[in-house]
C-alpha cells in the first residue's frame, strides 16, 4: 500500500523523516511538491517513491537505495552525490544534475542544464534530450549518456569518466577528446539505455560517439633546464 504525503498539508520535514524511518519495500506517493527543495533526500532503505509534480533543488540528494520517480521537472542538484539506486525524472533538470554522484543511475527524460554530471564519481546519467555547457566538468568516473546534443566545453578537465553523445557537440573542454567506440563501450551504452527505459527505448547505439580524457593534465609539466645543460655537457 502506498503511503501518501501531500506537501500542501504536511511539511517536508515530516515527509523526509518518514522516508528515513521507513523499511525496505515500502511505497510512497508525494503530492503537491510545488518546487519544494530537498524532497526525498537521504533515502537509505529500498523504497519506491513517486513525486507527482515539479521539485526544487537537491531532490533525492545523496540517494542510497530504492527508486525515486519525479513526474515533472527538477531544479539544481538533482540526485547530487547519489550513491546507488535510481532517480528518474520525466521532465527537465536545471544545473548540476547528478553532481558528484558515486553510483546508481540518474535518468532525465527531458533536457539537463549546465554542468550535468559535474565531478561525477561513478554514477551513470542518461539524458533523453540535450545537456548544457560544461557537462561532465572534472568528471572522475561513471558514464554520461546524452541522447540529444551537448553544449560548449563538454568534459572539461575530465578524468576517467566516459561520455556518450548521440547528437552534436558544440565544443569539447580542455583535455577532452573523442575516443573510439569499442565493443565494450557499445555494451555499456546498450545496458544503460535499457536501464533508462523508456527514455532509452528505440535509441540506436550506433548513432553515438564516445568522449573521454586525453590525460594530458594529470601531471604538472615541470622543466629542468639545469639537468638539460648537464646532459649536454656529458654528451
Amino acid at each position: 500500500m502506498k503511503r501518501r504525503f501531500d506537501l500542501a498539508e504536511v511539511s517536508r520535514r515530516e515527509l523526509n523523516q518518514a522516508l528515513h524511518d521507513a523499511s525496505d519495500g515500502e511505497s510512497f506517493e508525494v503530492l503537491n511538491p510545488r518546487g519544494a527543495h530537498a524532497v526525498a533526500c537521504g533515502i537509505t532503505a529500498d523504497l519506491d517513491v513517486v513525486v507527482r509534480g515539479s521539485v526544487g533543488y537537491y531532490c533525492a540528494g545523496m540517494h542510497q537505495r530504492g527508486r525515486v520517480l519525479v513526474e515533472g521537472n527538477a531544479s539544481t542538484g538533482l540526485a547530487e552525490n547519489i550513491m546507488s539506486g535510481l532517480v528518474h525524472i520525466t521532465g527537465n533538470a536545471t544545473m548540476s544534475a547528478g553532481a558528484t554522484g558515486c553510483g546508481g543511475l540518474v535518468v532525465v527524460g527531458g533536457n539537463a542544464g549546465a554542468r550535468c554530471g559535474i565531478s561525477m564519481k561513478g554514477v551513470d546519467i542518461v539524458v533523453g534530450g540535450n545537456v548544457g555547457h560544461m557537462s561532465a566538468f572534472m568528471a572522475q568516473a561513471g558514464n554520461l549518456v546524452v541522447c540529444g546534443d551537448a553544449a560548449a566545453d563538454l568534459g572539461d578537465s575530465i578524468y576517467e569518466a566516459q561520455i556518450f553523445v548521440r547528437g552534436d557537440v558544440e565544443s569539447l573542454g580542455a583535455d577532452c577528446i573523442e575516443k573510439e567506440m569499442r565493443p565494450e563501450h557499445v555494451e555499456t551504452l546498450s545496458r544503460l539505455l535499457a536501464a533508462a527505459s523508456p527514455v532509452g527505448d528505440g535509441v540506436d547505439v550506433s548513432d553515438f560517439r564516445r568522449y573521454g580524457s586525453a590525460r594530458r593534465l594529470y601531471n604538472f609539466t615541470i622543466d629542468d633546464v639545469d639537468a638539460l645543460e648537464a646532459g649536454q655537457e656529458a654528451a
Partner: protein
Amino acid sequence: MTTPPPDGLEPVEASDPDFWHLRESYSFDRNVIAEIRRAANTGIYRIRGWGAKRHLPTLDDLVFLGASMSRYPLEGYREACGTDVVIGEDRAERPVQLKIPVTIAGMSFGSLSAQAKEALGRGASAAGTSTTTGDGGMTEEERQHSATLVYQHLPSRYGMNPDHLRVADAIEVVVGQGAKPGGGGMLLGQKITERVAEMRTLPEGIDQRSACRHPDWTGPDDLEIKIGELREITDWQVPIYVKVGAARPYYDTALAVKAGADAVVVDGMQGGTAATQDVFIEHVGIPTLAAIGESVRALRELGVHRREVKLIVAGGVRSGADVAKALALGADAASIGTAALIAIGDNDPAYEAEYRALGTSAGFWEDFQAGNDPAGITTQDPGLSARLDPVLAGRRLANYLQVLTIETQILARANGKSHVLNLEPEDLAALTVEAAAMAKVPLAGTSWVPGVD
C-alpha cells in the same frame, strides 16, 4: 634547484667583516633571487605547504590590560574559570560540547598520514575537543579515535558519503580557507597512493587540483538551500558550520548567518595548507587579527553574537595568549592546524640530518606536498609514517592543548573573568597603530582607535 658555488669557494657570510661593504638589495634579496632562478629553471610556480611566512600584524600586537583599581583579578588555581563552549544548541538535536575553546582544524587523510590523523584524534579527544576531516573524506580510524569529529563538505566532494555525514558530530561546509581564499587544494602525485586514490576516485599518481567552487551551489541564497538539505539528510541532529577564508569577513559572516550556519569559521591568511601555490599563500586574504573584529561586528548587528551563531577563529594561533585575545575580540573558540602538527612532531630538530639532505632545515620544512616528510606526518610513505607513534604524539597534542587552555585561563583570571568567554575588547590595548585600527581597540596609553569617531 641549487647551483653550488665553484670548488673551493664558500658563500659569503654576513658576519664576515671582509664583506661588510656588500649591500644586499631589499627588493632583490637572496630569497627573491633564489625564487627567480627556480622559476627560470622549472617553468612552474612554487608550490608549498604551511601558511603565510611574511611579517604581518598579529595578535602579538595586542596586550591585555589586566586587573587594577577598578576591577579585581581571580585567584589562579583556586577560583573557577570556565572554558566550555557549546555550538548549535539553537537548532541541532545534538549540539557540539567542547571542554576547551580550542579545536583542531580540518586536515585530510592523504595530506596527512593515517598515524598523524590518529594522533590528532587521540590528543583532541583527551583534551575534550573536536578534530575535523579534510579534503579526502572520513577514515574509519579517525572516526574511531575522535570523540567529536567535524565532517567537512568541500567543493571537490572527495570521499563524500552520506553514511559518514550521519556519523559526524558536526558538518563544516567549506567555502574557503585562509591560506587560499578562492583556491582549491592540491595533492601531488607522490601522495596519491592506492588508498588515497580510491577514497578520492582518482587515478593513482596524478597531480590532483581540487575544485575551488562547489559543484551544486553558487552564492548565499543557494547555500541556504544546501544547508537545508544537509539538515534534512541528517534529520537536524548536528550543527552545521560554514568555513570561510578571511577575505571580506563582515559580509561573509553576515551571509553565512543568513544561510543558516550554527557556527562561522573564519580562517586568516596565516592559516596553513598542505600544498598550494606560494603566490596564493602570501598574497590572498587578510591577517587573522584584521578579520576577527569584522566578523564579530556582523554577528552583533544580526543579534546572534554569543547566542545562536558561534565564531571560530583560525590562522596562526600558537599560544594561550593568541586564544585569549581572539576570545576577547569576540570569538567563541580558536582553531589550530599548523601548531597542532608542530605539537605532534612536525619540523622536529631530531630529524635535522634528514632535513639537510632534503635541502632544508628543522624549522624551515614546508614541502608538505613532496610526501617525504622525515617526521612521518605529511606523507603517505609507509616507512616514514611508521616513525610517528600516534599514542605518544597524541599525548604531546593533549599536553599542548592543556597548556593553551591554562594560559587562556591565566589571562582571563588576570582580567577578572570567571569564564574565558567573558573576556572582552575592553580588556585589550594595541601596541601599533595598525593593530589598533584592525582590531578596533585603543592604541596603548591613548583612547584612540583609528578609523572610529
